[in-house]
Subunit: 273 residues, 2 copies
């Protein structure tokens, strides 16, 4: 890690301008293959998990508070820029900014076939839109030890809102993006991974009544309002559902995904406990 020579105070500083573009514009993120982090905990999680951070921006106050911890990562190739308090407020997206920001490279997207080679329990998020739900699902996948999460036509995993909502799990859970469902089904089938469509209504197996954990499988979770598209349901080998007593609209997509992941992992969890 190395330090910038002088404090950045100007909004038109090129690095600050890049930060803001990456924060606000998906296309910029795709072009630069980079995304932004805001907040101490997130930056620390990224460093701890070896994420390829390029630039850190930190106010004087935040440096006093967090600088000691950052110095443990002196071998990193990132640059530390001291910024003015005003600039910190300008860059912030959160309500109570902590004065610490970073630009991180996306990991090189590995081939889907490689991604699916190991592990037995995958989740596909298909047209899932809410950043909070996506973050909650990644956190739960992290806790339960899911092999990988694939975003298909869903919200942008590198948007600041999703990144924040993952609370660091983004750096721990293997994640892939594939927006072509033909390709995705082809790769899943080639890898010998069965696809289960999570549905709310209609004929379906009740989750938890079969021995799921013995096979390699991927559970497809659909859109918050509309569920899974029919074309996806038709191509999955099974439909699974969470049997419910009460008001089915009350089970939100992240909670449903959490229960399905739990059922997928619990056999293994008992084995390891």
């Amino acid at each position: 890690m190395n330090y910038g020579y002088k404090k950045i105070t100007a909004r038109d500083n090129p690095e600050v301008k890049l930060y803001r573009r990456l924060s606000g514009i998906k296309k910029a993120r795709m072009q630069e293959k980079s995304f932004v982090l805001e907040g101490y905990r997130l930056v620390l999680d990224a460093l701890k998990n070896g994420a390829p951070i390029k630039n850190i921006f930190i106010t004087d106050d935040a440096f006093l508070k967090y600088g000691g911890e950052l110095s443990h990562f002196e071998n990193g190739s990132f640059r530390v820029n001291i910024i003015s308090k005003e600039l910190g407020e300008y860059m912030a997206e959160t309500e109570c900014p902590q004065g610490i920001f970073a630009v991180c490279s996306m990991n090189a997207q590995i081939q889907l076939s490689e991604f699916l080679k190991n592990g037995s329990a995958f989740v596909v998020l298909y047209m899932l839109q809410d950043p909070g739900n996506a973050g909650m699902i990644l956190r739960t996948a992290d806790a339960l030890g899911i092999s990988g999460v694939i975003f298909c036509k869903s919200c942008d995993i590198y948007s600041p809102k999703v990144v924040r909502a993952t609370m660091g799990s983004l750096f721990r859970v293997p994640v892939a993006v594939c927006n072509d469902i033909n390709e995705l089904f082809f790769e899943l089938e080639t890898a010998g991974i069965e696809s289960d469509a999570a549905v709310v209504q209609g004929q379906a197996e009740l989750v938890g009544q079969s021995e799921y954990d013995r096979k390699r499988r991927a559970v497809w979770i659909g859109n918050e309002g509309n569920g899974l598209a029919q074309e996806v349901i038709c191509r999955c080998s099974r439909r699974i559902t969470i049997p419910m007593h009460g008001n089915i609209e009350s089970l939100n997509a992240a909670m449903a995904a959490g229960i399905l992941m739990w059922e997928m992992m619990k056999g293994k969890a008992y084995g390891n406990a």
Copy 2:
């Protein structure tokens, strides 16, 4: 239902002042035994579930949009007040206000012994603080058919944030408040309900490995940061935990509660499906 004679435009209108006090001050809610609702869906859910609404405030625009639906509840004893757009913005707490607000009475708090008389699956939230988590837990309890949720030293269930986060489940799930843990344990024991402490670490039964659904029981969920207090854990008859592979901090309180509720209810769910 009856209509106010003239449009309310003044911020110092007594009903508007009361609304604002109920919105912002817990003590006012306790004194008046009333709370506020904001947004069309929430007001409609309250009406559909027969919640004792006293006053509705609605802008002209919102009345054009939603008035037809409201007229289905003409037998209600509530008053409909037309308000100016500016006043609607003044009363709003959400970012994109829909121009519809209501004051609702709290249902008379029934005796805890009555509350616990029927049903077999209860959840106790002990020192749970986050409104979003409380709302998510109530929604999931609603979907899974939990018998009742008891708030013990937790966030105020009638705060506008919690009410909004329940997305109407507040009107469907039996809810009680009891801040005295001695009383609560006494009533649970008297009712023959066993208490399970949900813990993150330490010696505990792995959830889903016993036949939980055969007994009457209450699962205690603790604080987001600190889990359950030791004094609660000691008084519960069992400790249960969700076995995990990954980063245990990633499982948030609402998701953990959701998985525990699912395990508590799934036996019944299969029976009824």
